[in-house]
């Protein structure tokens, strides 16, 4: 995702603030130009409670000053800036400053989007989501009520879901379950906008598959025997949920071996040998040449030899080759 940093142009006030009737605004503007923003804030806040409050430029200046003063400690200043620009619109019924104020509003509201992108990079995923939602709400309310966010939503929620997918790889237990559900929800949101997206289909499938597999792989060794079928059933429910997404992804990109691998894993976990064998064969056909190459390059790679043993004893039954690699495996393990 491109980080679009919209830097507001500091628009010079063409009209000078002169005359006694604009004295606070004039002082505030002078301080603003001198980059003494705290002092500028003091004068502009005085202006908006004086008879200068009907001047659109006073409110515009207030918005600019508050926007300049916005910082992590003063996050509320952005809202004050937006309120000020809105007030500037209100006291300008003729629309003399419309273009300028619209620009100020856009450049301020886009900051929520920039925050969302930055927070995504900093792995503050909940913060990022809030910023993105705020950006959309503000944009629709104050910039363009007709804007269609479909493309933005697809891009953003795909990115957010992917961050959740990365995050859950580092978690365990209940926290992992919760974050997986969130990640899945974001990808499903993308799919509700465009069901023909490969990545979210694949990612949802992978998240469900991994959740199911984790339940089995992380079973407590002291699990009572009565609990085993319960865990098995929970895992299989996840495999069942994963399959429609993975099969959809497979339809879109049939050459992707990682998709085939996940589908194979689901059928394997569901004890569906007919489909498991079908997909395992596709996978083995694709992987065998690479495995043989890897074995030639490093004959001591145990994982590779194991795969060759499995392939020659199941998918492509060949007793001679099976014995050869089984013997190699045995020697490697002694």
């Amino acid at each position: 995702m491109k980080v679009l940093k919209h830097i507001s142009l500091i628009v010079l006030f063409l009209s000078a603030f002169s005359g006694i009737s604009q004295q606070y605004t004039t002082k505030a503007y002078a301080k603003y130009q001198a980059q003494e923003f705290d002092s500028a804030k003091y004068w502009v806040d005085s202006a908006v409670v004086s008879n200068e409050k009907t001047n659109s430029q006073t409110w515009q200046l207030r918005g600019l000053i508050y926007r300049k003063l916005e910082s992590p400690e003063n996050k509320g200043y952005r809202e004050i800036a937006i309120e000020s620009f809105l007030e500037a619109q209100k006291v300008d019924p003729e629309g003399n400053h419309k273009e300028k104020i619209d620009g100020y509003l856009y450049n301020t509201i886009i900051r929520y989007y920039n925050d969302a992108v930055t927070q995504l990079g900093e792995k503050d995923l909940e913060g990022s989501e809030k910023s993105y939602v705020a950006y959309k709400e503000m944009y629709l309310a104050h910039v363009d009520g007709t804007k269609d966010f479909k493309t933005n939503d697809i891009e953003y929620y795909n990115a957010l879901g992917s961050e959740y997918l990365k995050l859950i790889g580092t978690l365990s237990g209940e926290e992992k379950t919760q974050k997986t559900a969130k990640g899945v929800a974001f990808f499903e949101q993308v799919l509700s906008l465009d069901p023909n997206q490969f990545q979210p289909n694949f990612n949802v499938g992978i998240m469900y598959y991994n959740s199911g597999a984790d339940l089995i792989m992380n079973m407590d060794p002291l699990t009572p025997i009565e609990e085993i079928p319960v865990i098995e059933e929970k895992a299989q429910n996840n495999f069942k949920k994963a399959l429609p997404f993975l099969l959809e992804a497979h339809k879109m990109q049939p050459e992707r071996t990682d998709v085939i691998e996940a589908i194979t894993g689901c059928y394997y976990g569901l004890q569906d040998d007919e489909n498991y064998t079908k997909f395992q064969k596709i996978l083995d056909e694709k992987n065998l040449p690479t495995l043989l190459e890897k074995h030639s390059a490093n004959p001591k790679n145990r994982a590779v030899v194991r795969e060759l043993v499995r392939i020659y004893s199941t998918t492509f039954k060949d007793d001679e080759k099976y014995k050869k690699y089984a013997e190699i495996l045995d020697n490697l393990e002694e």
Binding site: M1, N158, A159, S162, L165, K166, G169, Q199, N203, I206, Y209, N210, G212, A213, I216, M217, M219, P221, T223, P224, I225, E226, I228, P229, E232, E233, A235, Q236, D258, E261, A262, T264, G265, Y268, G269, L270, Q271, D272, R306, V309, R310, S313, A326, L329, D330, E333
Partner: protein
């Protein structure tokens, strides 16, 4: 946007079987002369899957006062003593000869092939629907002086007296 990393397909059947095997060890009584020394769980067949899971998760744990030792055998002639012998599907067709080999010994023969209870296995893994289950032959267990707890019998999908 970086594509997320994909977890490799996992062998989700073997941990279930390994956990069942461990539970078999806790729910079966062996005769007195088998209650000293190490508690040996043997795997006859390829050194992967169930063997790996047993080795990784259960070796060193205790059955009573006995420490679990997991052994792998690629030939039946290598097997001398074992409390439990899990025979992989590929070798499960050898059940009759294994039954003869272990005649008079208190080895629990666990296989994974339809019809093996009638050929001497005490426990046979089967799949019912989508679930991993097991069936038990009480008489085959008794021939090896093994007493199976009711708790285990109650969970079997089929018990042959």
């Amino acid at each position: 946007m970086t594509p997320p990393s994909v977890t490799q397909m996992k062998d989700t059947r073997s941990p279930v079987k390994a956990l069942y095997l461990y539970n078999f060890a806790t729910l079966i009584d062996w005769p007195t002369d088998y209650r000293k020394g190490d508690f040996i769980i043997g795997v006859y067949g390829s050194k992967e899957g169930v063997y790996d899971n047993l080795k990784m998760k259960f070796e060193g744990k205790a059955i009573g006062s006995q420490e679990i030792v997991v052994k792998s055998f690629t030939s039946s002639s290598q097997i001398s003593k074992a409390h439990i012998l899990y025979v992989t599907p590929k070798n499960s067709s050898q059940i009759s000869s294994l039954n003869s080999q272990f005649k008079g010994k208190s080895t629990l023969l666990v296989t994974e092939r339809d019809g093996n209870l009638s050929k001497g296995a005490a426990i046979n893994f089967v799949v019912k629907g989508t679930s991993q289950k097991f069936e038990i032959s009480k008489s085959n267990a008794q021939k090896h002086k093994l007493v199976i707890a009711d708790r285990l019998l109650n969970l079997a999908v089929n018990v042959v007296e």
